[in-house]
């Protein structure tokens, strides 16, 4: 009985991870999607290591996202994840998590001198390929389909990004509404080739519609763009609202990653 309860708790952790990793959030900002499908925003392979420190476990996630542009307005991609779960009082487990494929399509673009406003739609499909036979399980065991609208107003002096989406799940996992917002501020004068440091700050929300529980995180981070094809980034998230039991509460997350343009 106690083992089943713990398994469910860990599954819930994993469920949160699946949509908390945001590996598909390419380009600045760090924890939110961008509507720009160009350069490191669009064609860069992205990977990072993320520690999610919870009351009942510490989880390490290493996703790798590979996008590919079909023109400048359409993008497809795939994301794989390596996960290590280290729960309190239970032996840790590791393995590859659920596989995700995604597609993005630009709906609207309005450019000005040194600025742009864009809207895209994104379809995300999670396949339950991760193992669920372990305790705790690496995979969510659920098919998950997410449709979201992503918008952004980006100038040479700052960027404002927003995302709202809905995720439909299977296998008794709760559907959820996601809502994200980010503000990006470059510290150095913009030039090309780039050498830039971006400050990121934002909010990441997740409202679980079936169980009516809300989570809202404050996110902040720094990006260092070192060349035309490479950037490094780091950031942290802290919970502002987390309507879950005490055992499942998050203390914080820490992320360290890179994006490299190869296409």
């Amino acid at each position: 009985m106690l083992l089943n309860l713990n398994m469910k708790k860990i599954l819930f952790v994993l469920f949160s991870i699946t949509f908390g990793t945001g590996v598909y959030a390419q380009g600045p900002p760090i924890f939110t999607e961008t509507p720009i499908l160009l350069g490191l925003d669009g064609g860069g392979i992205r990977t990072f290591g993320r520690f999610i420190v919870k009351e009942n476990a510490t989880v390490y996630v290493q996703p790798v996202g590979i996008p590919y542009n079909l023109g400048s307005k359409t993008q497809i991609g795939i994301i794989g994840r390596f996960i290590n779960i280290n729960p309190n009082q239970i032996q840790s487990v590791s393995g590859f998590g659920d596989l995700t494929v995604f597609a993005k399509q630009q709906l609207y673009q309005k450019d000005g001198k040194g600025k742009t406003f864009r809207i895209i739609v994104k379809l995300n499909q999670v396949f339950p390929t991760g193992k669920t036979s372990n305790t705790p399980s690496i995979g969510s065991g659920s098919w998950q389909s997410q449709l979201s609208l992503i918008t952004g107003y980006v100038t040479l002096k700052y960027g404002i990004y927003g995302q709202v989406g809905y995720n439909v799940t299977s296998n008794d996992l709760t559907d959820n509404l996601i809502y994200n917002f980010a503000f990006v501020y470059p510290l150095l004068p913009q030039k090309y080739p780039p050498n830039q440091i971006n400050l990121n700050i934002g909010f990441n929300g997740n409202y679980k519609t079936t169980i009516k529980g809300n989570s809202l995180f404050l996110s902040s981070g720094v990006q260092w763009i070192v060349s035309k094809t490479t950037l490094f980034e780091t950031g942290m998230q802290f919970p502002l609202i987390e309507e879950v039991t005490d055992a499942r509460k998050t203390k914080y997350t820490f992320t360290l990653g890179t994006r490299i343009l190869i296409f």
Binding site: L40, P194, L231
Partner: protein, 120 residues
């Protein structure tokens, strides 16, 4: 004696004639090369992020003989030059910029290089 002076004078004179004929040849070559070059400036809207401008640079590099490619983000300008024989049309440049994900505005062709912006 007189013949010797005449011969020396002739040799020295011939030297100067040859030297005079050689000097304009190098500047002529440079002038010829410049005359074969077209300088192009494209005003581009949407250049809001430095690393997404890389895609535009890659597309311009595919134009044969394109070189000295520069992107000025603050000015919203792309400049480069090509040989006369490979000058792209305005329609071709418009298509290239759009394919790169930006909005082309004015396109200018010139026989002399466009002045670079200097930082005061």
């Amino acid at each position: 004696m007189k013949n010797t002076v005449n011969i020396k004078t002739g040799i020295i004179g011939l030297f100067f004639v040859v030297a005079f004929l050689m000097i304009p040849n190098s500047s002529n070559a440079q002038a010829t090369e410049t005359a074969e070059t077209v300088f192009i400036k494209v005003e581009v809207d949407g250049l809001s992020c430095p690393f997404c401008a890389y895609g535009l640079e890659k597309k311009i590099k595919k134009i044969e003989t394109a070189k000295d490619i520069k992107i000025e983000l603050e000015e919203g300008e792309l400049t480069f030059n090509v040989k006369n024989s490979h000058q792209p049309t305005k329609d071709e440049l418009t298509s290239i910029v759009k394919d790169a994900g930006f909005t082309p505005k004015e396109i200018h062709f010139s026989k002399i290089a466009f002045k670079e912006k200097t930082n005061d």
